[in-house]
Symmetry: D2
Subunit: 339 residues, 4 copies
Amino acid sequence: MKGKIKIGIVGLGRLGRRHAENLANHVQDVDLVAAASPITSELEWAKAHYGIETYSNLASLLKHPGLDAVWLVTPTSLHAQQSIEVLEAGKHLFCEKPLSLDVPSCDEVIKVAESHKDLVTMIGFMRRFDAAYIKAKQALNNGELGKVFRIHCESLDPVDPNAFFVKFAPTSGGIFLDCCIHDIDLVRWMLNGDKAKKVAAYGTRIMYPDLEACNDIDTGAAVVEFECGALATFHVSRTSHIGYKATMDITGTSGSLSIGHDIDEIPLIKGINGTSCHKGQQDFFSRFNNAFLSEATEFVRMVKANDAGMHFLEDAREATRIAVAMRESFESGKPVELN
Amino acid sequence: MKGKIKIGIVGLGRLGRRHAENLANHVQDVDLVAAASPITSELEWAKAHYGIETYSNLASLLKHPGLDAVWLVTPTSLHAQQSIEVLEAGKHLFCEKPLSLDVPSCDEVIKVAESHKDLVTMIGFMRRFDAAYIKAKQALNNGELGKVFRIHCESLDPVDPNAFFVKFAPTSGGIFLDCCIHDIDLVRWMLNGDKAKKVAAYGTRIMYPDLEACNDIDTGAAVVEFECGALATFHVSRTSHIGYKATMDITGTSGSLSIGHDIDEIPLIKGINGTSCHKGQQDFFSRFNNAFLSEATEFVRMVKANDAGMHFLEDAREATRIAVAMRESFESGKPVELN
Amino acid sequence: MKGKIKIGIVGLGRLGRRHAENLANHVQDVDLVAAASPITSELEWAKAHYGIETYSNLASLLKHPGLDAVWLVTPTSLHAQQSIEVLEAGKHLFCEKPLSLDVPSCDEVIKVAESHKDLVTMIGFMRRFDAAYIKAKQALNNGELGKVFRIHCESLDPVDPNAFFVKFAPTSGGIFLDCCIHDIDLVRWMLNGDKAKKVAAYGTRIMYPDLEACNDIDTGAAVVEFECGALATFHVSRTSHIGYKATMDITGTSGSLSIGHDIDEIPLIKGINGTSCHKGQQDFFSRFNNAFLSEATEFVRMVKANDAGMHFLEDAREATRIAVAMRESFESGKPVELN
Amino acid sequence: MKGKIKIGIVGLGRLGRRHAENLANHVQDVDLVAAASPITSELEWAKAHYGIETYSNLASLLKHPGLDAVWLVTPTSLHAQQSIEVLEAGKHLFCEKPLSLDVPSCDEVIKVAESHKDLVTMIGFMRRFDAAYIKAKQALNNGELGKVFRIHCESLDPVDPNAFFVKFAPTSGGIFLDCCIHDIDLVRWMLNGDKAKKVAAYGTRIMYPDLEACNDIDTGAAVVEFECGALATFHVSRTSHIGYKATMDITGTSGSLSIGHDIDEIPLIKGINGTSCHKGQQDFFSRFNNAFLSEATEFVRMVKANDAGMHFLEDAREATRIAVAMRESFESGKPVELN
C-alpha cells in the first residue's frame, strides 16, 4: 500500500487520547483522519487538537472517505461487536484489550476475522512490544533459563485519591479482566501458548469500598497451574504507594529473569536526613509509552506491507478464558478447572 | 540467676552446629556444657570444637549436673515430645521451629508449658529478632501504614545442586511446614495475631523430582484470607538462581513497607561487558545470623532475669495450623476453611 | 511563523544522523529539506533515507530555497566559523557543543549573534533538557538543598573495542573539551552561572595508547573551585565496563540530589549461579534521546513563535573557558587561576 | 602462647569503647584486663562495664601484671610516642590509624618495631579486613580486571548537627589525615604498594565554619598520580545527607569493581506518596563492625601463634606521607611532587 494509511479512532477517553496523540504525531506513515465518540467533549478535543473529522458513532465513521483502519479504544463491553462491524466494513482493525468479557464473543470475532484474511487485525497487548519482555522471550527461546516452571507477576496501579477508575469498574469486567489480562497473556507467551489447567483467585476490597456495588475488589491474587507443570501467580492491585509497577519474575531450571523492577520516574534520588528517596513510575503510560508506539508502528508496517493476518486474537480469547475463570473462582470461593 | 547459664544442645546438624557456635562463642553469659545426638560424628564434632560433655540422647543429657536449659535443634517430628521432656525435667526450653507438624501436639506442649510457669520456653521464630522486621512491626504499631490489607512474602532457598535438603524432606512436614512457617508467623505478627479464615495452596515439583516419594514439592504458592480482610500471599521455593531471599511486602491504606529486597552477600559489584553483576545472600544463616544471636541473647537474658514465660508457643500452634491447612489444600486441590 | 520550518543539516556522522532522524520523524512542525557534507557516503545516506536535497558544503546549502534554519553537527573545529556564516545568511542556528575550542572564537560568534537579534541561536547542551537535570534545577531554585557547595560529575563512555573515537580525537579538543563540556555547563547552571576561580586537571592514558599522538588521554579528573565556595569535581573516561554513565551528585547544606545512577538499558535482570546481572546504558543516545528531542522541539517552538534570542552562547563560552583551562592544567601539571 | 591473651586498652572515647566492647565480648581468646585514660569518666565506664583495672596513663598500665598486648585508641598526636613505649615495654601493639601526622615519627616507630621482632605490631587499617575489599583484592590478584588504572574513593560522614567532630579537628591532622587515610592505604593495597608520584588536594568549608580555627575543611577532593600510571581520586566530606558512605570504584583494562554502594542500614524500604525511601548506614561502626572484629581476631591469632611481625607499619608511613602531601597541597594551592 502506498502513502499514509488513513486511521479513524473510536473512543477518546484517557487512553484513547494517548493513542490519538501517538497516531497523529509519533507514528510514521499515518494520517489520523477521523474520530468517533458519543461524548461531545471528546469530539471537541479531537477537533481542537488535530482538526480531524468527527462522528457520533462507529457506523458513521466507517463511511469516512478512504478510511483504511479503525482504532478501537472504547469500553470493553463494546469491543467484540464493534470489532465485527469494523471487519465487515473491510477496514483493518486495532482493538484495545481485552477483546471481550466472555469467550463466545471472542469466538465470534475470530470467526469474522478468519473470513477477512486480507485485513490486519490486532488486539492491544502492548506489553508484547516492550523491550524487556521481548528480550526475556528471546532468552527463553534460546533456552537460557532451561525449562520454565514458575512465573510471578505483579501489576499495581498507584493509589488514586480521586478513585477515578471506580466509575469504569462496572463495565470493566472486574480487576482480573481489566488489569490481569496483560500478565495472563504474557505468561502464556512465555510458556509458548501452554494451556491453563486450573485457576484460583482471591481478593479483598479495603481502599475503595464503593467497588462493592459491582462486586469488584481493589486487590487480587490468582494462581494458574499450566499443563506443562508451570505455576503462575498474579498479583493485581489499585493500591500502590510506590507508583505504578508491572513486574514479572520468571524462573527456569537453569536461570531466572526479572522484568520491570525498580524503575524510577526519572533517575533522580533525593537525600535528606540520612535517607535516599526516589519516585516510582507514574502510570502505565510512562512505563509502556514506547511499547504503545512500537505496537502502532508494527500495525502500520503490516498494513503498508499488505502483511495481513490476525494478531493475538486467539491469545486474547485464551486470556479472557483465564481471566473469566479467575473472576468465577473469586466469586465462588473455589478453584476452577479448565477442560 | 547468677553466673553463666548452663545450656545443653540436642541435635548438631547444619543448623544445630550454628546454634552451638553462637552459644559457645557469641552469646554472653552462656556456658555450653553438653550436647546430645544419636549420631557419633556429631558428638565427635562437639567434643573437638568445644570440649563439652556428650550424650547419645536427650534423657541422658537432662541429667547433666547443673544444667539450666536445653536447646532443641532436632528433626521436627521430635520437637513436641522432646519439648515436653525438657519442661518436665524442669529445664528452660528453646525449641527450633516448627513446634510440631500437627496442632494437637502443639496443644500438649502448651499444656505442659503452662504448668511450668517458672520456666522460659521459646520457639525459634528468629526472624522476629531481625532488625528489619522489628522496625516494620514498630511502624505498623505507630500506625504509619494505616490499616494493613495486603502482605506478600517470598522465602526462596538457593538451588542446591546436591539436593542436600531432599533427604530431610520426609520428616520436614513438606515445604509449607518447613519453609513457610516463618512467614506465616510473621504475617500473623504484623496482623496483631489475627485469625486466618481460609487457606489455599498450590505447588509444582520440577527441579527435584525425588521429592515425589514423600509427595513434597520444590515450589509452592499459598493464599490466606484473614478475618480482618487482609489477604496474605506466600511464595516458597528451593529453586532460587539469585541466592537466598526472604522478602515481605506490607501494604496498608496509607503506606507500604518492603523488607529484605536486594541484599547482596557483600557490597561488591563486578562490571564487565557493559553489565553489572552482584551476588545475593548465600543462605538463611548469612541473612539472619544477627537474628539468631539476638534470639539467643534474649533467651539468656530472660533466664538470668527470672523473666519466665512462654514465647511464641501459641503463635507456633497457629502457624502450624495454617501450614497444615496449606498442605491439606495442596493435597486436596481445594481451599480449606479454618474454624 | 506559519507552517513547518525548513531545516538543513550539516554533518551526517553518527550524531548528525541521529539529529537528522529526530528532525525528520520525531519533531513536529519540521521539514528537513537539505543536508550538506563533504563526504559522499553521508549525502547518499541522506538521499536514501529522506529523499532530501544534498550539498557538498554549507555555503551551497544556505542558498537552498526557503531555508529557515541550519543544524550544525560538524567537527568542533568548524563550529565557530560556520555559525557565523549561518547567522550572516540570516538563518536560525542550532550548533552542537562545544561552540569552539577557544574563547576568542566564542566571542566572535556571540558578537555576530548579538547583531542578529531576530534569529534563534542555540548551542546543543541537550542535558539541560533532560527531565532529571531539570527537576534537580527546580529543586535547587526552590531552595530544597540549601546552599550548594559540592558537585561531583562522572561522564563515562563504554569501552570501545574498535577505538572508534580515536580518529576524532585530534579535532575534538581533547577529552575535557569533548566530554567534560556538558558537565561543566550543568555545574555552572546548578550554581546559577557562578564564576570559576581555579581549575586543575589530571589524567592518564592506558587503554588507548594511540591517543598519545594528539596528547589526549582516555581518563581524566578535574577540580574547579567556584567563587561561591563550591567545589566541583569531574571524572571523564572512555573506559567504562558497565555501560554509558552520566551522573551528577549535588550536595547542599540541607540535602542532596543524585542524578543518573543505576539506569539499566532495559528493566531486565538475569539471575544465574546466585548472581543478578543487569546491563547498563549503551551510549549517550539511549540515555539522552528524549533530551535531544526536547531540545529540538524547543528550538522549533521558538522559531515558530518568533521568540528570537541567544540560548547558551555565553554559557558555551564559559564552558569552553573552563574546559580549556582543564586542558592547560593537565598539560602544564599546574592549576590554572581564572581571572 | 597458651590461654587467653591479656590486653590493656588505652583511650576510651567513642571508638575506644567500641574496641573495648569487641575485645571484652566478641573476640575469642582475649582477656581484657586493664584500661588507661587521663579522663576519669572513661575509667569509670571501664570499671562499670567490664570490672577491669584502670590506670591514669600508659606507663602505669604497662606494669599491669601479665599484660600481653596494648590497644592504643588515643588521639593521633600520641600514637607514635605511645607505640614506642609499648614496644619498648615488650608488649604486642595494636595502634589505631593513622600511625602519625608526620613521616619521621612513623620512621621512628618502624625502627623500634624492627628491633622487637618477637612482637606483633599492627596499625588499625580495619578496612583491609572487610569482606568486600578482600574479595576485590583477590579479584585483582587473579587478574580479573586486567591492569588497574583508575580508582575513585568516597568517604562521607553523615552531617552531624552537633558538630561533635569539630572539637577533635585540631589534633586530628585535618580531614585528609583523619578520613582519607583509609582510602589512601586501600588504594596502595589495590595497586600492590605502588609509589605516589604527585599529589594535589582541594577543599571547601561550608557547613562547619568553626573548622577555620584549625584551617581544616569539611569537604575535600584529592588526586594522586601513581608511578604505574594509575590515577586515584579521593572525596572526603563530613556532610552526607544519605548516611555514612565509603565507596571505592576500581577500573582496570578488562573489568571494574565497585565496593560499598547502596548499603542500607537495614533492608527496609518505606513507600509513601509514590516514593520509595530507605535509610543509609549510620556510621563507620555499622559499616565496618565485622572488619573491626576480624582485625582484632587476626591480631589475637597471631599473638597466640607466635606469628610475630609488623603489619601495615610501612604502609602507614606511606599513607601518612601521601595524606601530609594532600594537606600541603591544599594549603599551598599547588600540587606536591613525591619521589
